[in-house]
């Protein structure tokens, strides 16, 4: 239930159960949303700061995560595998930790190491500008800087769906 979801049924117990039977709804027509730019201090795999502007022209997956987030133990390794596989085809992955303390993120990255750049947003300002709806939240951004898909949460098997969406954008 963590695929691209633009519209959702009211969050009711049985509705949720029912919605499992339906595939994810397609994005509403004309919902063009530019990814807000940011500049944040890097904590891994980059020096100085990381800004979204340097990724313009590339297919980018922007992932918000936290050391205290359970499903992030699955999403970080899964994203790292996708990144290693599709980097040569033009995929970029940027992660933003929303931890309040750097050390928590660094401890987590020691356990679940990744090869893509990681920045930290200790104030939550960037997470707020993206209206992050759950942990983790991933934003798939096309070459023109438009958000094309949003993933909230992560469970086993989600990497397959994500891989397909990325492939589609890479072929555009």
């Amino acid at each position: 239930m963590t695929g691209i979801k633009i519209m959702r049924l009211p969050v009711l117990f049985f509705a949720s159960l029912l919605s499992l039977l339906h595939p994810a709804t397609a994005p509403a027509d004309g919902a063009i949303t530019k990814a807000p730019d940011f500049r944040l201090p890097a904590i891994a795999n980059a020096d100085g700061t990381i800004g979204l502007d340097s990724y313009l022209g590339k297919v980018t997956y922007l992932d918000f995560w936290a050391s205290w987030c359970g499903p992030c133990r699955l999403s970080l390794p899964a994203l790292d595998a996708l990144y290693k596989e599709l980097r040569s085809e033009g995929l970029e992955v940027v992660a933003v930790s929303v931890d309040v303390v750097d050390e928590d993120s660094l401890d987590f990255l020691q356990r679940y190491s990744v090869s893509y750049p990681v920045a930290i947003d200790t104030t939550g300002d960037i997470a707020r500008s993206y209206a992050v709806g759950g942990m983790p939240s991933g934003y798939l951004i096309d070459r023109t800087g438009v958000i094309r898909a949003v993933h909230v949460g992560f469970k086993r098997g989600d990497e397959e769906k994500l891989r397909q969406e990325i492939m589609e954008l890479l072929e555009e």
Binding site: A66, W68, V98, D99, D121, G124, A127, R128, V132, G134
Partner: protein, 75 residues
């Protein structure tokens, strides 16, 4: 029920429900403290089960932590 009991329900119930001020919205990225193990309702699932069993078999009261379990082991 005794008046003292009713009073306790009202005082504890209302106090706990309302807090000092009303709930403030907490964004998903601000839930690090809430996700800390210190904020869990149970110390651990197995400890809660064992403790519940001990108290239930030595006291007249039971329930309140969720569903009922089986077995007795009470002497």
């Amino acid at each position: 029920m005794k008046p003292v009991v009713v009073k306790l329900i009202v005082v504890c119930g209302l106090n706990l429900l309302t807090g000092c001020a009303g709930p403030e919205p907490v964004a998903p990225w601000e839930r690090g403290y809430l996700a800390d193990p210190a904020m869990q309702w149970q110390r651990s699932a197995r400890e809660a089960k064992f403790a519940g069993h001990v108290y239930t078999s030595k006291e007249a009261s039971s329930g309140g932590s969720g569903a009922a379990g089986g077995g007795c082991g009470c002497n």
